[in-house]
């Protein structure tokens, strides 16, 4: 699956603010709520519930909070770049690059394929280095577009 199939250019956000993990998740839930029309608390609860089972901060400053939601129509994906935020990551390092992924209940294999594609992209050190250097959403979207290989 290609990331650009699920990520719109206007869902790339850069915000330099000092946040906590909770505030960061709230912000993502808020954004997703605006775009999808689903209740903000519903989204937030699903994300927090997933974090409770194990962090989605997969190391090297990268996190992929995700959840499967009842009532969601299409896969929603957003990219978020922020100041280094403590995220209880596996390597205890703060997080500054995030992909939010929300999938409808009937997404089936697409859910896992999307997660695989996102983690594959962020596992690439060259890509994360570029993402960290650029602050304009349109540049960031272009970097994602350029490195979006479907395997």
């Amino acid at each position: 699956m290609k990331i650009t199939e699920i990520l719109n250019a206007d869902s790339v956000l850069v915000e330099k603010a000092a946040l906590s993990k909770k505030q960061l998740l709230e912000k993502l839930a808020h954004l997703a709520s605006e775009r999808t029309g689903l209740d903000r608390m519903l989204i937030l609860n699903a994300l927090v519930e997933r974090e409770r089972l194990g962090t989605t901060g997969i190391g090297h400053g990268v996190a992929l909070p995700h959840a499967r939601l009842e009532g969601l129509k299409n896969i929603f994906c957003a990219f978020f770049k922020t100041n280094e935020t403590p995220f209880e990551s596996v390597d205890n390092k703060p997080v500054d690059l995030l992909f939010l992924l929300l999938v409808p209940e009937n997404a089936g294999a697409d859910h896992l394929k999307a997660l695989a594609a996102l983690s594959r992209l962020l596992r690439n050190d060259k890509v994360t280095e570029k993402l960290r250097k650029n602050d304009l959403p349109k540049d960031i979207y272009k970097i994602i577009l350029d490195n979006d290989t479907d395997e």
Binding site: L53, G54, I58, G59, R68, D91, H111, L112
Partner: protein, 600 residues
Amino acid sequence: MDFINLPVLLFSILLTISILTSLVSSRVGIPLILAFLCMGLAVSAGHIEMLQSLHRPGIIFFIGSIALAMILFDSGFHTSMKNYRQNAKPALLLSTLGVVMTTVILVPFVHFLMDLNWTFSFLLVAMISSTDSAAVFSLLRSKGLGLRERVKSTLEIESGTNDPMAIFLTLSFILIIQQQLTNQSIQYGFLFPTLLEQAFVGGVIGLGAALLIRTLINKIPLDTALYPIFVLGLTLLCFSMTNLLKGSGFLAVYVAGLILGNTRIQAYAQISKFQQTMTWLCQITMFTSLGLFVTTDGLPQILDIGFILSILLMLLARPLMVFAILHFFKQFSLGDKLFISFVGLRGATSFLLALLPIVMGLPYAHTFFDIIFIMVLISLAVQGFLIPIVGRWCGVTIPVLETAPINTQIDLPGLGDSSLIMYQLDEQTPVVLGEKIPRWAKPTLVLRNGISYPAGTGLRQLKSGDKVYVFLSSELQRPILNKLYGRPSSNEIMTQGDFPISADTSFDELEHLYGISVDRGIRNSTISDLFHQEFADVEIGDRLVLDSIELVVHSIEDGHVSMVGLDFDPKGKNSIHHHIKLLSLKNLKKRLTSHQKTVK
């Protein structure tokens, strides 16, 4: 005096150069052994007269046997008993039955390809039937190769224990050949009882020797520098006694080493260091002196057969044997078996055994020696260099840190269980990052910028670059000290790209989270349950495939799986292990997806 000085000059130059080659290559062990081998070969090819005076098979065999005994003692000494208990069964089967099977599989090829009679074919194959302990050890412990514990200790135990079997087979066939040559009636009946006798006597004396050595070391006050030599002497005593009593001396020293290495003994650190150095010295001696015996003129004629046999051994005999035996141990995954098949390194033992026919003056002896030389060379070069790559491929490697925590242990004479550990701190050490230190674990001494600060002299915060000395009064404290003053061990490091999840998560929850299809029978059990059900002794790095996700064990607490990683992209890791596993699942997945379709 030049008759002494010239050879020594030559030898020392070669020695220095070959040791320096280890700097160039990060894969320390193998290239170094190869360098020594080539050194001997160079001397042999150059027909250097002075060193050629060493060209007496009897003497070299004598030196080689002692060297091998020392290497095997060290192999045992550095094998942890805990791993031994867990993996002894499969490993010991590989080292006994496995050696016989390897021989039986390869013999017909030798018989027909070389047009050699059966007994000689058996002799040739028996000599190459065991894996080399020193090579396997130095390779598996080389920097940057983190291996799953089960695979690593199985290979180590196998290589440490299969030499006696190969030696026994070789000696048996030499006896049979001698009977044939003197037209005696050939007797096979003695073989099996002799094998049992050798193993039994070897094992018992090894055990007794270990207990005796332990008591002697702990009771007799000696200059610390003398302990390692004392142990060396006693080891050789054990070796020769066992052989005189018709036991396997090699097995005895291995058993003795295994027990001694796993008990608290006086001057453990010194002995351990000395053993490592001795092992290197023994390997250098063995490979250099054995290299002398290769008749370089004869090599071209046997190059092709050596090459073919190597390939057959590597790709047919060993894999077939490993798969057949490990089939009965379901804790080994496909990747584990592939990797164990691949690490069938041949080395010093085969070489040494190849000297025996020369010593005994048997026909074909020199040809055999050259063939073994080619096979060892190919094995060390090909397998040695490819192991890190194949390891990643088979999914048996676990991530390691670039630098392990530096710690040195200093034994305190007279205080049996206690020792002083030195840690070199860096910016990632937990105590430097502000971790609280319990009272008992506070440093006894801190060295900073060359100045020593004894306990209680007001060093509030430890810094990167400090050298910290901590008193260890019981082995139980070591893991906690390592956690505080060292870096996290490889076991605690997660693989990037895996999503950690609590192993207490039930499959019901997992299905809810990711919409994957789970077999109804396991829906109420947790991830941890399934791992313990599938693996008798589950360990970090073990994998289970579930639909299109792989679950990887990340951590184990109190014997129970506590965290696992979810890998959504198993294919992305470019490993044969994953590809094959997924292939075999293809049918199952097809069934599942067609099932899902019909539901929709």
